[in-house]
Symmetry: C2
Subunit: 340 residues, 2 copies
Amino acid sequence: MHHKEVTIYDIARKLDLSPSTISRGLKNPTSISKVTIKRITDTAHEMGYSSNAFASNLRKKRSNIIGVIVPRLNSAFMSQTIAGIEKEVSNANYNLIISQSLESMKKEASSAFAMLSNRVDGLLVSLAYDTESIDHFNNFIKRGTPVIFFDRVFENSKYPAVHINNYKAGYDVTAHLITQGCKRIVHLTGNQLQNVYKDRLKGYKQALMDYNIMFDERLVIVNGLAAADGIEAAGQILRMPQLPDGVFAANDQCAVSCMQVLKKNRIRIPDDIAFAGFNNDPLTCIIEPNLTTINYKGYEMGQVSAKLLMNQIYAKNIQIADDIVLEYELIIRESSVRKR
Amino acid sequence: MHHKEVTIYDIARKLDLSPSTISRGLKNPTSISKVTIKRITDTAHEMGYSSNAFASNLRKKRSNIIGVIVPRLNSAFMSQTIAGIEKEVSNANYNLIISQSLESMKKEASSAFAMLSNRVDGLLVSLAYDTESIDHFNNFIKRGTPVIFFDRVFENSKYPAVHINNYKAGYDVTAHLITQGCKRIVHLTGNQLQNVYKDRLKGYKQALMDYNIMFDERLVIVNGLAAADGIEAAGQILRMPQLPDGVFAANDQCAVSCMQVLKKNRIRIPDDIAFAGFNNDPLTCIIEPNLTTINYKGYEMGQVSAKLLMNQIYAKNIQIADDIVLEYELIIRESSVRKR
DNA sequence: CTGTTAGCGCTTTCAG
DNA sequence: CTGAAAGCGCTAACAG
């Protein structure tokens, strides 16, 4: 039961016009008489015509498709970002091909390969957990297809990137905890291959230094930052010979699950241990006490990245664009505010 | 700087073979000598060849692309679903085009149009808030492209659907609240155009009836089910001449924000008012007391829908497939458990 | 196991 | 304002 395609030739025959006229009438309504246009669109509609994007793309050598590769689709932050991207992209009449690397560089590379075959007009990437080389994007550059990183970016790459100043944010959070009286601050963080976690740690260290607090390596806990890791970290904290008086977690999920365990163990927050997270996940306003965090504007990051990409596509040649550094916001809530 | 495409012709010339041999060597390594295959793939690689999906698709009349249209990308449930879909689809070597209707039927239709032009091999749809007709999918049927609804489905349509039994789930939740001693149960629900909310309400009503509780229209609050709506609903509840002793919200987000306001107003949960939500959002385990809810397996729903779709694609003709009804699970937590 | 050939449906010069 | 003709890159008969 192969459906017979209705093509512009069919319309042309019916209207006794040439295919080129039909093509113009459908896509480029200048330099065609109003009357003809009307006849064409009407007939197209009534014949059930649907333009074939492959044929058009093949001929035009562009796809109107933007590719997106992210580590995971099912995180609060990423779904915000994707929503922002989709909004911008669809406004500009582009389509979106999305795939997730599941935190594996290998799958990231194979997704990139698929995107290349689909001749995306541009690519938006947030890197996988274990990505240590970005050679799998070289082919895009070779063909002149812009690639932009966002959030999880690659350091010193020639690709433009959209991100926040994680160093400064890490600094701000730590300094805030210190001014609340914390002296022994645990830092829960993730894979140090990734700029986002590495920079936050740097900021943490610098703040300690500026406030004359000795950096203690044993207070840095590196894990996967998932809910389960937060629970595990709570155990580690409880077993410490001397309890810390503050925790700065590199994401909210982990902070929240850690807090829950500590609370069950009669640790008072913020009095015994003050807490701060990162991302402004909806969870932060549910947990009691509400969690101090960094408002990381995912939706906006998506929009900004998409806009930048489309500018590059429009410019037709890859700009050595500067990185875009987005604003963030330290949101101070009860989990870190101590009465003096 | 137009990059010159490397085509199979270029490879053919270099290797003194025919284009068809190259094509076969690259895609269909049967009936080609091992040696030739190796030469072909090596040369392709070294010349920086990337197969052109448009050309291939145009010729083959299939795209290896699955389209997905959902109301919003940025919800915990949807991001789970999408992740499940992506997983299955990419396992089967399909690509994913995604767009969001932003709860508007108009945008849903225009997305469908774009998907049609891109000749997706199949379409997965969760309907927008105000979708009251699904004629915009007719063209897919006409061309023999399978369309499957999930979660927010259209009643009595000829399209197969993947969903849970919302009626029964609504019934179970309500019955549970009743057995905990609730007699005046508020139901927070959404647009009654949508099967998911309509059916949950039906289940609620039936449970009341079965337990000889009079249905009271004033206890049904219809709103957008967002966090803000939960806050608003809490206000309405507090202003009721007689306080209810139970709340069944059709989603967790709304339940949680409603609970928060009530708690601030010194309502004890579950003793004054018992609570139940819907979806098993991560929030449910953070709010205190933890929220009783229906575990709605988004990831699994995505996987199942994708598999069903790919089966239909594979079968090459649209099956009058039966709907798939997924299991759900009533998760009873403290918010609804009263000590006797 | 390999080659020849035709054509998928569209756009875009170029020429009226 | 409209038409003729060529070709984007690939695959699938068909023929050896």
